[in-house]
């Protein structure tokens, strides 16, 4: 069975050149997974208008004039969200030159022409948390993107997503596993990693106070001539000040349980929250503490033993953290793995007995919450963006393949079209006809 975009008879009956009466799209006949509180809907219909889901359920009427995707026998899931990605980053994902580089921005180096955007769409991925690397204790600002392949770099940005920043703990900021020419950069131990973060927030707190005092004075002096001089602006500290003010979500790369606790202590001392622990391979050892802090955890399903701090990683990590009340997502950190995150989710069923519905949330609704975009994406619900993946079979089944992926109700990947395009000769390959001088 092939997905077909069928213009309904209503459209055909219109006089030529007339506007279609509706820009609605309906996906019919599929098993819908991740449908808000209902969970699964058999033979359901999703109606999309202006890029948003306007109706979902069994027996929902297809509006007249709507184009229809017949997905009979197929499975529709919310678009998959990768909470840890470096896709679409044009060169250099790490600003390595300093231990704290909170001022640099991934959004400045987004490469909208990265072919991996398309390849990930073909794996059902519709949004990703594009993060700075883990070279330093506090790295750069993230960019949450939607996989709007073919659009410009600024169109990739998920406009409603709150700001975020990358922190990193352990072997990578210590630079344990590689040598960099020149003198060693501080820090070289986990003690130093803590010190750099603490030092940065000490400064950020002082900077915040300076600005608050200035603003207070400025208000008091009003329009008088002797207006106070504003403090010197510091882009690095400004970002950290916004972390203190809760305006920026902290995504912290970490492995060992002790460093997870360390960051919780520092964050609580300075009064900010860690939104997600990334990788967090030993999160299962301190699951209660993570839950109590209120952080999410975004992990690999089963990677381990590639470095010392990953030796105690276990595939039961997601299940244990989830059973302790942590919001858990499974991510890729890889252009390749990102294309089969639906199977990474299935591993949570295998290792630790997470239910299939909860496992699917680990690559849809949970990462949406972790990125602060769950009001817009992450489930098939009325009012949410029509970011959807249509699978040939249950996404956890061994013969599952993504057939169609939509972002904002627009088809950005369609396997049938992709296959058809392959057999079409390239226009460049055709010999020009005529005199041709």
């Amino acid at each position: 069975m092939r997905t077909k975009l069928i213009a309904l008879v209503f459209a055909a009956a219109l006089p030529a050149g007339a506007e279609a009466p509706s820009n609605a799209l309906a996906i019919v006949g599929a098993t819908l997974l991740g449908v808000g509180p209902q969970g699964t809907v058999e033979k359901g219909t999703i109606v999309v208008r202006d890029g948003k889901i306007v109706a979902v359920g069994k027996g929902v009427a297809v509006p007249p004039g709507a184009s229809v995707i017949d997905a009979s026998g197929r499975f529709v899931t919310p678009g998959i969200i990768d909470a840890h990605s470096h896709t679409a980053v044009e060169d250099g994902v790490n600003e390595c030159t300093d231990a704290i580089t909170a001022e640099v921005r991934i959004a400045d180096v987004l490469d909208h022409a990265d072919i991996n955007i398309y390849r990930e769409l073909a794996g059902g991925v519709t949004a990703a948390n594009v993060l700075h690397g883990s070279c330093n204790s506090i790295g750069g600002q993230n960019a949450v993107i939607k996989m709007r392949w073919g659009k410009g770099p600024e169109d990739l940005v998920f406009k409603e997503a709150p700001r975020g920043i990358k922190f990193a703990l352990g072997e990578n900021p210590k630079r344990s596993n590689f040598r960099v020419p020149g003198e060693r950069r501080y820090p070289g131990t986990r003690m130093g990693v803590e010190a750099t973060i603490r030092g940065a927030f000490d400064q950020a707190r002082a900077y915040k106070r300076e600005w608050e005092e200035y603003e207070k004075k400025a208000r008091a002096t009003g329009v008088r001539k002797d207006k106070p001089v504003p403090p010197r602006r510091d882009l690095r500290l400004e970002e950290l000040k916004d972390v203190l003010d809760g305006k920026v979500l902290v995504h912290a790369h970490c492995y060992r349980s002790d460093e997870i606790l360390m960051l919780i202590h520092v964050a609580e001392e300075f009064g900010f929250k860690v939104r997600t622990f990334q990788h967090v391979l030993e999160g299962y050892k301190v699951a209660s503490e993570i839950a109590k802090h209120g952080a999410g955890a975004s992990s690999f399903s089963d990677w381990w033993a590639y470095k010392l701090e990953a030796y105690d990683a276990i595939p039961y990590n997601a299940a244990i953290m989830a059973s302790h009340g942590v919001n858990v997502s499974l991510n890729s950190d890889s252009d390749e793995l990102a294309r089969r995150l639906y199977w990474e989710a299935a591993k949570a069923v295998k290792y630790g007995g997470v239910s299939e519905a909860e496992a699917l949330k680990m690559v849809t609704l949970n990462p949406a919450w972790q990125l602060g975009i769950d009001k817009h994406v992450g489930s098939i619900e009325v009012g949410k963006d029509a970011d959807l993946a249509i699978f040939s079979a249950h996404p956890f089944a061994p013969d599952a393949r993504v057939e169609t992926t939509l972002v904002d109700g627009t088809v950005y990947f369609d396997r049938a079209k992709d296959l058809a395009a392959r057999s079409k000769p390239s226009p460049l390959a055709e010999t020009p006809k005529g005199g041709g001088r």
């Binding site: 390849r119 590689f178 033993a305 244990i320 390749e336 199977w343 013969d399």
Partner: protein, 433 residues
């Protein structure tokens, strides 16, 4: 949250007088995927003396046999992972735990079975998902060394080793400098595209010439050694690398040549063909572009499925559909993990090939019978047939389905523990308040 039944079963079987190779075990009432013949919907497998004694729908349970109730379960032949670093790798970034790549780039005398670590924590993890045999292969350089086929059970290197040597491993020269993580921060030399292409070609030709010379020299050394043994000439000066390379140079040992690009695969096939050597391609990312050549020259491919395509303009599923294209063209191949810590994911590589066109039974053959045959052990392992090694496992369903649990693993007729470093940590922490 169920590791326990499997662990329990394994423990029960282990506790029994499992000095084992001579005990008789009958797995009854199970669906049996034989990989060699048709699937038996409900049947019995008898393991005796470390071998498969009988398999079929009407096989009776021998008197005194220990019965394993397989109803509702599927019995599979143990999975064979034809390219790993299991046994010679522990923690990638910790040099002290790695015995994968020797210093220098000509190491024909590096032999994987010398350095096998029977107590590696990676081995039980692979085994617990049904992998019972793996090729442990050295990596890197120009001539990486010799591989060993290992069973994933045993307390000594000798006990692990099923067959050695299996092949001489060669990295077909690409002309590109080898990737070194430690050097990623160094400034690259500024060169034009043309200069780089020229460098690549020069370096590739230089390395190929070295490889040709080494093989010629080894062939001559081997001949001299033979002649001296026959008393015709005095013994040649001892030369360990040459002595180790000689069998491969005269075609007595296959060359497993790592090559991904189409041009390199074609180059490797031609290189072996010119010398009358048996080549097996490993990697094979662009094998789908040269199926006719591979078929014509009957060259087998050890294929990793879960990879990104080579070129931006390639179909997005080029690597996923690679296996199906080889299958349709009649090229011999096996699906491999090319990994150690996550060799357990071998069946899921096969699942991806299946999702992109490889028939389900071929996908299973590609991780059981075919790798066994390609590595010259098809008479010992890879299917459930009388006389073969009693390497089988029980699963709750389709082994290529991520949700399926492996509930028992037998190697040489002995029930293996399914306890791993990871299940131990799970038990230790799952209920921590």
């Amino acid at each position: 949250m169920k590791v326990s039944p499997a662990v329990l079963l394994a423990t029960l079987l282990l506790a029994s007088p499992a000095s084992a190779a001579d005990s008789v075990i009958a797995i009854t009432g199970a669906r049996i995927v034989t990989a060699e013949g048709p699937v038996i919907e409900k049947g019995t497998v008898v393991l005796s003396g470390g071998k498969i004694a009988a398999v079929g729908a009407d096989v009776s349970v021998p008197a005194g046999a220990q019965v394993v109730d397989g109803s509702g379960k599927t019995v599979y032949p143990g999975l064979v992972d034809a390219l790993t670093t299991l046994g010679i790798e522990e923690i990638r970034s910790v040099a002290g735990s790695m015995d994968v790549q020797e210093v220098g780039d000509v190491n024909p005398h590096a032999r994987a079975w010398i350095a096998l670590h029977p107590w590696s924590d990676l081995i039980p993890v692979a085994r617990a998902n049904g992998i019972t045999t793996a090729l442990a292969a050295p990596e890197g350089g120009l001539i990486s060394g010799q591989s060993a086929l290992i069973r994933l059970a045993g307390s000594t290197p000798e006990g692990l080793t099923l067959k050695a040597p299996v092949a001489m491993h060669v990295v077909y020269p690409t002309g590109r400098p080898p990737f070194e993580f430690a050097r990623i921060f160094e400034e690259p030399e500024l060169k034009t595209f043309e200069e780089r292409q020229k460098d690549k070609k020069t370096n590739q030709e230089k390395d190929l010439q070295r490889l040709r010379n080494l093989l010629e020299e080894a062939k001559a050394y081997g001949a001299a050694l033979d002649a001296s043994k026959a008393g015709m000439i005095p013994a040649p000066k001892p030369d360990l690398p040459m002595e180790a390379l000689a069998p491969a140079a005269r075609g007595a040992l296959p060359l497993i040549m790592r090559a991904d690009d189409e041009a390199d695969i074609r180059g490797a096939v031609a290189f072996a063909d010119e010398r009358g050597l048996e080549a097996i391609i490993s990697g094979g990312l662009e094998a789908w572009r040269c199926t006719e050549l591979l078929k014509a020259k009957d060259v087998a491919v050890l294929l990793k499925v879960d990879r990104l395509p080579r070129k931006e303009s390639d179909p997005y599923d080029a690597a996923y559909a690679n296996a199906a294209k080889l299958f349709e063209a009649g090229v011999r191949f096996a699906i491999v993990s090319d990994d150690a810590s996550n060799a357990r994911n071998l069946p899921y590589e096969a699942a991806m090939a299946r999702a992109f066109g490889l028939p389900a039974d071929a996908a299973l053959d590609a991780i059981t019978l075919w790798p066994a045959q390609i590595l010259g052990a098809g008479d010992r392992i890879g299917s459930i047939a009388p006389g073969k090694d009693a390497d089988v496992f029980l699963a709750t369903g389709d082994i290529m389905d991520h949700r399926t649990q492996v509930t028992a693993v037998f190697i040489d007729g002995v029930a293996q523990s399914l306890v791993t470093r990871q299940t131990r940590l799970y038990e230790q922490f799952k209920d921590r308040p």
